[in-house]
Symmetry: C2
């Protein structure tokens, strides 16, 4: 046994969170994304899981060997500690890891041995971040929260009456980032004042706060007319998707008067649009007017797109200020130079799964994206963590593993 | 003139970012959300705008008096500094504000007087966060980035072939949170090491990193089958929306075997589902099997929902572990007790707009949500900021205002 085997992979001391250690007891998207983001920023993140993995360890998509591509994506650069959560000795070890690290991030519910009060009684400067479904402790996930948040009723084609769920788990992603922000803010406060922090972060409140920040709740409470479906248009300004002669779709946005002027010039509709402004007594430099009269503008511009191939459209748009993008599938994106030539994406040889381009953080620090590191397998770092952080000997660790309290790294078959 | 008039509203010294000052030169969603979030965490955030406001100052939705509900929502708790961006003296004042604060967040492009190199030459520990559309400097917004990211091709009803844009600007929101996380991480690093940080954060890379983190790029590069539209189902597990006898829609998710068992018991389909498992030779405790056979399960469960009113369905679901939510419009959410009785929402008397419930941060710190503070009007704090931070006298400030270099607070008509 070599308990320090994985320390070679720990981030360098220049990373923003170098020296910060986090214990994560988590599953699914939000809390794991929080921990992974902290790991990317240089923290040592120890994901603690039941032996065999939490409920997300085999989540789709899977490889042919039943390994989760999903799990690997959200747990890059962490260490894995596996223990029997019902074993009191294992619970004590996990508590000690939390107390030693000083930071816990969890979305686990009903784990009394991780309760804030008991832990903070021992270590008052503890940072304890509890992610919940709802503030009242009841369960909720991205897809149910989204149903309550109002967006499915305004997403999708204009003539549709059914709700349309988003596929991107946007609330989970936002919740994970709010959780990471909470941790780093509390770490900074602790550095300045010495104080710990208890953070509670309900997924539902992430959604409702965002709905409020974007003005939807104020609009309703101030007696606004209510939002309707507007298809792929952009509320309050000009946006539309167009189809080319060869059947490719482009999203076009004209946010500023300059964008809009370029769009009328490109499509040869400047005279028609000027005549329309006079006839309607409006000024399309005002984005609200562009939005209100979008359907007639869509028709005017659509003819130009419908007569040209995607290649011609793309070349012509590139010479203008118009905001534009060709719709792509995930498969097309995966082979796009903006992925394959992007320094944010780094070739990762992910054990058990294979080699692919995995993303670092979207932000670079002093021109550098943090190095991408693979996700561990369940229990890969149990022995190293017990040795490094709790000072256990090899014999003690072997005894814990033999008793089933913890699971250590699986040996390769000889 | 009372240059300290607004300091009463500054956050208390126990807030995580107390003592941190940020200059924000921004517009639209991502960068303003970053600054607002930092303000909620206790930083003093000075939003610097052109006189009359940036391109987002009149963005929809508007009140009858043409005030932007949208702008108020994303700029709560900031101070407003207004100046003529083409005036070299004003540029110098803004640069000095940045150098004095030590932190700049901006999504402005082409403002050479805000370039990192020149500012860092004077203040090497500067934290400079540049939000971009794309990494190459070309323009992109949430709606165009989304088209490239792949989600519109898999969002919406199963039988649809057109792309469906999201309405929630999920990439902007995530970008704003990544930006805030970058700032706080860099502030912490500066506290520990003394070093400044240059952060570059392209909106497009936020989307592409998220697509990668969620496994879509790896799946494609590993030769996976590609994703198709699955309507309101949840990929890889069981989720479906059902309609009640009175026409109300519910989103149902059965993520765990327990959720699923409760769902079959509630709907009286346990025998039928067991028979189905035997006939298909599958085990629905495996979430992948629930997903693969979702259509027949949808039909079995749907009958139960279709025979009951929403009130009965809601009551019955509440007694189970099943994850569920009634679809709501924004207007319904705005009057829901989970908003009106939620301590995260605080009554805000927003000058120029009116009184409504505005959200604080979704996370509470030691049981408390930060106090919600109103958004300023353009130039409200110009004089106070010049006095407090640059030490200008009242006469000097009046001269700058008279020359049109800055705009100070608009006096109420006498």
């Amino acid at each position: 046994m070599n308990p320090t085997a994985s320390t070679d992979e720990l981030p360098s001391s220049t990373a923003p969170l170098a020296g910060v250690r986090v214990v994560e007891v988590s599953s699914f998207v939000a809390a794991p994304l929080c921990g992974m983001t902290l790991a990317q920023l240089g923290a040592e993140v120890i994901r603690v899981d039941p032996i065999g993995g939490a409920a997300d360890y085999k989540r789709w998509p899977l490889t042919e060997d039943n390994e989760s591509i999903y799990w690997a994506g959200l747990n890059k650069g962490k260490r894995s500690f596996a223990a029997d959560f019902r074993n009191p000795e294992a619970q004590g070890l996990i508590r000690n890891l939390v107390l030693d690290a000083g930071i816990l991030v969890t979305n686990a519910a009903g784990r009394e041995w991780l309760d804030y009060d008991e832990l903070a009684a021992i270590r008052p400067d503890l940072i304890h971040v509890q992610v919940l479904g709802r503030a009242d402790g009841t369960g909720a996930v991205d897809y149910t929260v989204n149903a309550a948040a109002g967006f499915p009723q305004v997403t999708g084609p204009e003539n549709l009456s059914d709700p349309v769920n988003h596929v991107l788990p946007a609330w989970d992603v936002s919740c994970g980032l709010y959780a990471a922000l909470s941790v780093v803010s509390a770490v900074y406060r602790r550095e300045i004042t010495g104080a710990g922090t208890r953070v509670v972060l309900p997924l539902e409140d992430v959604a409702f706060a965002t709905v409020g920040n974007l003005g939807y709740i104020a609009e309703a409470q101030l007696g606004g007319p209510g939002r309707r479906r507007i298809g792929n248009a952009v509320y309050g300004t000009y946006g539309c998707d167009f189809t080319t002669a060869d059947g490719i779709r482009f999203m076009i946005v004209a946010l500023t008067p300059r964008h809009f002027r370029d769009l009328t010039e490109l499509t040869g509709t400047t005279h028609a649009v000027t005549a329309l402004e006079a006839a309607l007594d409006v000024d399309f430099r005002d984005e609200g007017s562009r939005f209100e009269h979008r359907h007639v503008l869509d028709s005017l511009f659509g003819a130009w797109f419908g007569k040209r191939t995607a290649a011609d459209v793309e070349e012509a748009l590139a010479a203008t200020s118009i905001l534009h993008e060709r719709y792509r599938t995930f498969a097309e994106l995966a082979r796009d130079p903006r992925v394959t030539d992007n320094p944010m994406f780094q070739k990762l040889d992910q054990p058990r799964i294979g080699e692919y381009l995995a993303p670092s953080t979207p932000m670079s620090f002093d021109g550098v994206h943090p190095t991408v590191r693979p996700a561990p397998a369940n229990g890969d770092d149990t022995a190293a963590v017990l040795s490094e952080h709790l000072g256990l000997t090899g014999d003690e660790i072997d005894a814990l593993a033999a008793a089933g309290a913890v699971r250590t790294k699986q040996k390769d078959p000889a």
